[in-house]
Symmetry: C2
Subunit: 248 residues, 2 copies
DNA sequence: TATAGTTGTCTATATCAATAGACAAATTTT
DNA sequence: AAAATTTGTCTATTGATATAGACAACTATA
């Protein structure tokens, strides 16, 4: 699709080798190369992008370092295919249910938790007074042992006292909320954006520096419209795409 | 929110000045700086990010060039605030309807059109045979004279012969489809991803090199489920966020 | 008016990024 | 076995990136 013959920009603060590495990743995710297929030779890539062979080699070296490619002297450079997860989002989306069939194992790991006063934004979203105590959870979503998301979520500390323990134990938001008498909930709103991953997310999701993350900011509510959870989730764009179902 | 004290990565192919420029943009979009507010002095920013003052100056120079900031010798550097558009997407979203109240003028400009054989992906999405003729439209969405999106859309050439003329004339997909007897349609599926903007999109949307775009790939269908349109849209992440309504 | 704070400009230096060319090492093809 | 193809390594050169320090120009404040 887009980016067939799309070229490379110079002098923009992003090095050529990184741009080319991004293009190769994009190609892999977009299905330009089959599983275990050989990349075009370095000279061919250099010609295609109008750069020196050594620049292409820098890009490939970075991807080899990240475990995306494997280079073999005399034979070629091969794709270690990691296809992108397609993550459904909608009113009833849960972390684990949507990924059925795509992965064999998934859960949410609790990285840290804290109780803090609510900022104005969070207080408004949760229907609390500004400065009211809220519990903040820092979590990482994992599928088949690979990190696929990083989230920061806030709950009313009074109503959900001890939810961090439930999360650590069950590895599931849905299961944790059940302990507080909430058997079903809906996504009231979701706002989507994208940016470069910050240093913390790079570490938590084992990303290459400069990686792009999709960001969702969502409010979950009970069936009668009571807000219970405010969450900002980050998904690495190279590993995950978000899918909106029609009538969800 | 995220990225309060988040630091800067070195030797990753993205120059420090661009990373800092991105952070400042993020801060503006995230509301860290009020309208027309002064940025912290260069020395303060240099300390915060652990870089030399000249590096901060490079970042600021790029943003001044892009019209995001205004620097005044002896006084400070000021934000020329451009708040982000919130773009709703859902089953019934139309380009113009969703932005009501946020902008005064919006339309879609037709940049170019072509008739070509359908790739496998597009043929499948539109329910055509591979290689069947399809019309490709390259369009740009504009709000208040500013480009806010760039899209590539495909239609069955047989059924929608001449739709490029209708688009050029009406500046609206919805109005154009009306001429072919389609008064209503739904978004069957939407897939979201993010990447760096390619060279063409940089020019078309007047973006700074290295900008991030949100990408949606959607199939629109008639009310009885017949696919009529396949579209890939790109939104600059610095100007646009995507909003999912609950029951849409 | 004097002082402090801020942006603008200049010189200098070290490292990274990119280009260029040559050849070695390994593999596949002829 | 020989030739062609492809990745790996080396040297060298140029321009962009980043750091460092000094001082000028301008603004606001004491």
């Amino acid at each position: 699709m887009a980016g067939l013959a799309s070229s490379i920009e110079r002098r923009n603060g992003v090095s050529l080798w990184r741009q080319i590495a991004d293009k190769i990743l994009q190609g892999i995710a977009g299905g330009d190369f089959a599983e275990n297929a050989a990349l075009p030779p370095e000279m061919a890539l250099a010609e295609r992008y109008g750069v020196n062979r050594h620049t292409v080699r820098s890009a490939i070296a970075a991807l080899v370092q990240d475990g995306v490619l494997r280079a073999e002297q005399g034979r070629g450079t091969f794709v270690l295919s990691r296809k992108r997860l397609s993550y459904p989002i909608g009113a009833r989306t849960r972390f684990s249910t949507g990924l059925q069939g795509q992965t064999s194992e998934r859960h949410i790991a609790l990285l840290s938790s804290a109780t803090e006063p609510a900022s104005r934004r969070i207080a408004e979203a949760l229907g609390l007074a500004k400065g009211a105590a809220v519990i903040r959870l820092e979590t990482r979503g994992e599928a088949d042992g690979h990190p696929v998301s990083r989230a920061t979520t806030w709950f009313d500390a009074k109503r959900f006292a001890g939810i961090e323990a439930a999360m650590a134990e069950t590895g599931s938001i849905t299961a944790s909320l059940k302990r507080f008498g909430i058997n079903d909930y809906l996504r009231q709103s979701t706002v989507l954006s994208a940016r470069h991953a910050d240093a913390d997310d790079l570490v938590a999701m084992e990303l290459q520096p400069g990686a792009i993350v999709l960001v969702t900011v969502a409010v979950n509510v009970t069936l009668d419209g009571q807000p219970i959870q405010f969450a900002e989730s980050r998904f690495p764009a190279e590993r995950v795409e978000l899918r909106l179902s029609a009538g969800d």
